[in-house]
């Protein structure tokens, strides 16, 4: 596993020029090229209708690509029926067979493979131990809670040691606390068993928590595929910057480009220096992205020289327990969020930010990304 991180393992799954349309007019997936390495936890993240679930269904064999080929361990699988693909799958609503007990559900993939009874029994009890549900083996799915059903679905998808495990928004039906707990459990299972997981979700925090790499889908195209921290720190376009984490957007026009940095005149007045990530050249319009936690508020009158210093008007402050947010009006953007660092929003400092007050904000050029216009 760890070694695989250093020298990339060979691709277990390879999507090659995949296109998919349902109606013959509109492409749901446009030219997908994607490689998933053995032992990786890859998340397909995107809003609904972005093509992520369709991609997963094509991999599972329930949808046929309109164009292109999918390789599993270098073997083309476009014409292999789902039951011969050796891919375990966890469904959104678990899809546990209601007429079978928990043990029978978990034994199902073994019994259709003609595993001997003794071995099947052994593996089922091992799987039950893994999910800590030995005592519930003879219950029916209907008698279990959502979290328990989810664990059983997981055990059932893993018990036959598939080459690949697919998960289609498996935690969507659980409440927040249980969802977070299950995220950790799934991640732990992935690490201890060394399985390859393709996970679909629309929840970016879930994706950030669990994944080795995240493929951000939008409009049938993979916008960016990268490690969670890279996605957050170095988004390649406005969509990714906006979809992953909180983000402030300022529209402007590129004046000059010098190496990696550019000077941008803001539409609402003022100018800032930003890292040129996705701008075509001088004169092009751009949208700047700044994370709320990378911005400092300077009370009015305090002098601070820097390339990026903009006037702002306090609209509101929002208390969120471990931190607080200040909502500012910055050169026409009335929803500009600034995260007040722990300790910075104590009585003394916090009390200073009154709605309507004029302040200045400042941020480092490397924290401001010049991306494609929205």
């Amino acid at each position: 596993m760890e070694a695989g991180m250093v020298t990339p393992a060979p691709a277990l799954v390879r999507f090659s020029g995949i296109q998919k349309t349902y109606d013959g007019e509109h492409l749901v997936v446009k030219n997908l090229d994607l490689e998933i390495r053995k032992g990786e936890f890859v998340t397909l993240l995107g809003p609904s209708g972005s093509g992520k679930t369709t991609t997963l269904m094509m991999l599972a064999g329930f949808e046929v690509p309109t164009h292109g080929e999918i390789y599993l361990a270098e073997r083309p699988i476009k014409n292999v029926p789902p039951h011969k693909r050796d891919i375990g799958m966890v469904f959104q609503n678990y899809a546990l067979f209601p007429h079978l007990t928990i043990a029978e559900n978990i034994a199902f993939p073994l019994s259709v493979r003609n595993t001997t009874k003794a071995e099947a029994q052994e593996r089922v009890s091992a799987a039950l131990r893994m999910i800590k549900m030995e005592t519930l083996a003879h219950r029916r799915p209907g008698q279990l809670s959502g979290g328990q059903q989810q664990r059983v679905a997981l055990a059932r998808a893993l018990v036959f040691n598939p080459q690949l495990v697919l998960m289609d928004e498996p935690l969507g039906a659980l409440d927040k606390r249980l969802r977070e707990q299950m995220q950790l459990e799934i991640k732990q299972l992935h690490e201890t068993m060394g399985i390859t997981v393709v996970y679909v979700t629309h929840d970016q925090s879930e994706a950030l928590t669990m994944s080795d790499r995240i493929a951000v889908f939008n409009d049938g195209i993979v916008q960016q595929i990268d490690r969670p921290d890279a996605l957050y720190e170095h988004p390649v376009n406005s969509f990714v910057a906006h979809f992953i984490g909180e983000n402030n957007v300022l529209a402007g026009t590129v004046e000059t480009i010098e190496k990696d940095y550019c000077r941008v005149t803001l539409a609402g007045g003022g100018a800032v220096t930003a890292r040129a990530v996705n701008v075509s050249g001088a004169g092009a319009s751009t949208s700047l992205s700044v994370r709320p936690e990378r911005i400092a508020i300077i009370p009015d009158g305090t002098s601070s020289e820097g390339p990026n210093r903009l006037p702002a008007k306090v609209q509101n402050t929002i208390y969120l327990g471990d931190h607080a947010l200040a909502v500012l009006d910055v050169v026409g953007n009335g929803e500009f969020m600034v995260k007040l660092q722990p300790g910075a929003h104590d009585e003394k400092r916090h009390g200073n930010l009154k709605p309507g007050e004029s302040v200045f904000i400042t941020f480092r050029p490397e924290d401001c990304l010049a991306l494609d216009p929205v």
Binding site: M89, A95, F97, F108, G142, F160
Partner: protein, 420 residues
């Protein structure tokens, strides 16, 4: 807050919680009862009442008692081993004279004739030839002179058996059983033992029709459940269309189609497949075809509703776990349709058991089901006792089946059901 609740509870300890709950619920219950009352009364009059009446008629036996009261009284102490004494003969003579005067002799004659063929003649000839009450001590001689049957022990046991007020005679007859002269239950004479045969035939035809409905209805229900809503609604209309036409019309349509000069035979003949017309109607085949057609929707609808509830995710899950389509169907899909199969089969089977018009119109003499005989005894021969007994046996058999089904379904419910 908690303290307030506790003191509140303490304050009203004199009224137990259960009683307070009952009181609170009472108005609601009365309202609910008032809403169902009209239906309850309706059901009582049209359903429970007639069934109770039928069950009563199956054992009711007061006709002979009303016509020959003195005879019944005189036979009360008779041991049935030998001929009764002179007193009984005198009582018969007196009863017959009284019955002749009131014109009720035929009532008793009809009932006694069911039990002993020719009893009608015994009574009518006695009634015709008995001029006046015989002299005391000569009753036996007089009667035996009029009709020697009075010398038979069977004549007297028949009267005693029919003395009522309740009898097992009709129920025994419905099961091809009877009592012999000594009162023991024995099989009825072969020429009268037809009902067991008819019951068997009724159950076999019903089972066959149920099986046919299941075989034909399952794929249709599957299609209905699998198609997108627009097309499945259209198909559903076709399934329900037969309900809009009369049962009689549909049955007669089959006569038009299947008769020897009918559409099917003519087409086959024209195609050169057959030379002689096939016999498709007025036999078991015709009965099964017509009944299956009429009862098919009752199978499709429960099947459809059970299939509609099966998420397509189950089949996908089965496939992803490595089950080929056939295995997935047999082990995942089929077991989940069992409640639908059970409900549909029970519905069709019970409806088929009581079928009357269709077999009467398209069946031959050997295809008449039990309802035909019930109708025959009710409307033609007015033997309500036997008709009721046949009905009671049919009802009992059906209830038994429903009970078995209920047990099976209950077992299912404990095990089945998915939360999501």
């Amino acid at each position: 807050m908690t303290d307030a609740l506790l003191t509140g509870a303490n304050a009203s300890t004199e009224v137990p919680l259960k009683r307070r709950l009952r009181r609170a619920e009472r108005t609601r219950q009365v309202k609910a009862l008032a809403l169902v009352l009209p239906l309850l009364v309706f059901l009582l009059f049209t359903f429970a009442g007639p069934i109770a009446g039928m069950l009563w008629r199956a054992v009711d036996d007061r006709e002979v008692r009303q016509v020959l009261p003195q005879t019944i009284a005189a036979l009360a102490t008779w041991d049935g081993k030998d001929l009764p004494d002179e007193k009984a003969f005198a009582a018969v003579a007196s009863d017959i004279l009284a019955a002749r005067a009131s014109g009720t002799i035929a009532v008793a004659a009809k009932r006694l004739n069911y039990a002993l063929n020719g009893f009608r003649t015994i009574l009518t000839s006695t009634s015709r030839n008995l001029k006046a009450a015989p002299e005391p001590g000569t009753a036996r001689e007089t009667l035996e002179k009029i009709n020697p049957a009075w010398r038979e022990r069977a004549t007297w046991t028949t009267i005693k058996d029919a003395s009522g007020p309740v009898t097992g005679f009709y129920l025994l007859a419905a099961l091809d059983l009877t009592r012999n002269v000594d009162g023991a239950i024995v099989a009825a004479a072969p020429d009268q033992a037809i009902y067991r045969n008819v019951f068997t035939r009724t159950f076999i035809i019903s089972l066959g029709v149920t099986a046919l409905c299941l075989i034909l209805g399952f794929p249709v229900a599957y299609l209905l459940a699998a198609l997108p809503p627009g097309r499945s609604n259209l198909l559903m209309i076709f399934v329900l269309l037969p309900f809009w036409t009369s049962l009689l019309v549909r049955t007669c349509a089959w006569i038009v189609l299947l008769q020897s000069k009918g559409v099917v035979n003519d087409s086959l003949h024209w195609l050169g497949i057959i030379d002689e017309p096939l016999r498709l109607i007025y036999n078991r085949f015709g009965v099964c075809v017509a009944m299956t057609h009429v009862l098919l929707p009752f199978m499709i609808l429960p099947l459809y509703s059970s299939m509609k509830a099966i998420s397509p995710a189950y089949m996908r899950a089965a496939a992803s776990l490595g089950a080929p389509p056939t295995t997935a169907f047999l082990r995942i899909y089929l077991p989940q349709t069992l409640p639908g199969i059970g409900a549909g089969s029970l519905l069709v089977f019970i409806l088929a058991l009581g079928y009357y018009i269709t077999p009467a119109l398209v069946g031959g003499a050997a295809d008449q089901m039990i309802s035909y005989f019930i109708a025959l005894y009710t409307t033609e021969t007015a033997n309500w006792g036997l008709a009721s007994a046949l009905g009671a046996v049919l009802l009992l058999a059906t209830l038994l089946l429903a009970l078995v089904y209920g047990k099976l379904v209950q077992g299912q419910q404990v095990t089945g059901g998915m939360k999501n």
